[in-house]
Amino acid sequence: MGILDFLKRKPEPSAGVAKERLRIIVAQERSTRGGPDYLPLLRNELLEVIRKYVNVDVDAVNISLDRDSGHEVLELSVALPDGKPAASAG
């Protein structure tokens, strides 16, 4: 580092942030890849419905579509927050 560099403020290293964000978005996009286009929409609408009753996180709903010999399985899992009572509806 040069003398003049001390006067310039160094930016925070940002590659780590980029890697983490990419890891998450790439995994999410891969999980819906190849499936029908309505899956992301279905996920969002389900999330809205669930949120009417339970205060869950955006990441709490997981949808995956698996192909088994001859038939497809739509798997839906919802992680409910532990401990706290469910938020009241309406």
Binding site: M1, G2, I3, L4, D5, K8, P11, P13, S14, A15, G16, A18, K19, R21, L22, R23, I25, V26, E29, R30, R33, G34
Partner: protein, 270 residues
């Protein structure tokens, strides 16, 4: 047997045409008979990078529509007699290319005993990009160490595995080669840029080459000489390594270490 290589990326401006030009030239330098085709209908540019823009008479769409023969439209490279360029049409009609038309041209190149056909894909995932990848045996996915480019290339890897002839016919999958371009080891060391390892981890595929960011790439495109022919540039040397690896040779990656600054630069910065 003619092998078809698509150079693709999803995102624009990452170095597809630069890569297509250098890859095709590099293969020709190895004695292969090569044709390089610009699929970017309406935005012809490969001719400029190859330095043959003033010799374009007929283009890809003319051949597809039977307005010219393939022989008439193929432009022989000035430097390598076994290298030919097929320019994109400047028509604004995006439907000018059809799957049947592209297949006809590729079949004809196969009959003419070409060893390799390099397809320079347009950016995006629309028709032109789809046609460029559809018949491919190999794919070179060009990626920059930058978030939007990495995400788009993952999408392209998905399309290569599902929306190509090999995938639809259930044949052995396209060979995927990830090419990291505009790499700056100094910025990687400073933690400002994704590293080779980062990109490989995120995409789950190893790189076939790393092209360092280089002033020589702009100089080469200014001059209309593919950068692989620039013997004084690291980018050119890295492309030569990449071509050798695609041909099956094993070569270690180079130019990944930061360039140390000289004493004066260390003292005064810059």
């Amino acid at each position: 047997m003619t092998e078809i290589i698509v150079v693709t990326s999803g995102k624009g401006g990452v170095g597809k045409t630069t890569t297509s030009a250098s890859l095709a030239t590099g293969l020709a330098m190895q004695g292969k008979k090569v044709a390089v085709i610009d699929f970017d209908v309406g935005l012809r540019n490969l001719d400029l990078i190859m330095g043959c823009e003033r010799r374009v008479v007929y283009d890809f769409v003319n051949v597809v529509h039977g307005e010219a023969t393939l022989k008439q439209a193929l432009i022989k490279d000035k430097r390598h007699e076994n290298l030919f360029v097929l320019a994109a049409s400047q028509t604004r009609d995006k439907d000018a290319l059809t799957q049947e038309g592209v297949e006809k041209v590729l079949d004809e190149l196969t009959k003419e005993n070409f060893d390799f056909v390099v397809c320079d894909s347009p950016a995006g995932i629309e028709k032109g990009a789809h046609l460029a990848m559809y018949f491919a045996d190999h794919a070179v996915v060009v990626v920059n160490p930058e978030v939007s480019s990495v995400r788009d290339s993952d999408r392209i890897l998905g399309l290569l595995a599902s929306k190509t002839r090999r995938a639809e016919k259930g044949e052995s999958p396209i060979k995927q080669h990830l090419l990291l371009t505009r790499y700056n080891p100094n910025r990687v060391e400073a933690g400002e840029m994704l590293s080779v390892k980062d990109v490989e981890e995120i995409l789950g595929i190893s790189v076939v080459g790393v092209i360092p960011e280089s002033e020589n790439v702009l100089a080469a495109s200014n001059a209309g000489v593919p950068v692989i022919l620039d013997d004084n540039s690291n980018a050119g040397a890295a492309y030569k390594d990449t071509v050798a690896r695609i041909l099956g040779e094993e070569r270690p990656l180079r130019f990944l270490e930061p360039v140390k600054k000289g004493f004066l630069k260390r003292v005064f910065g810059g």
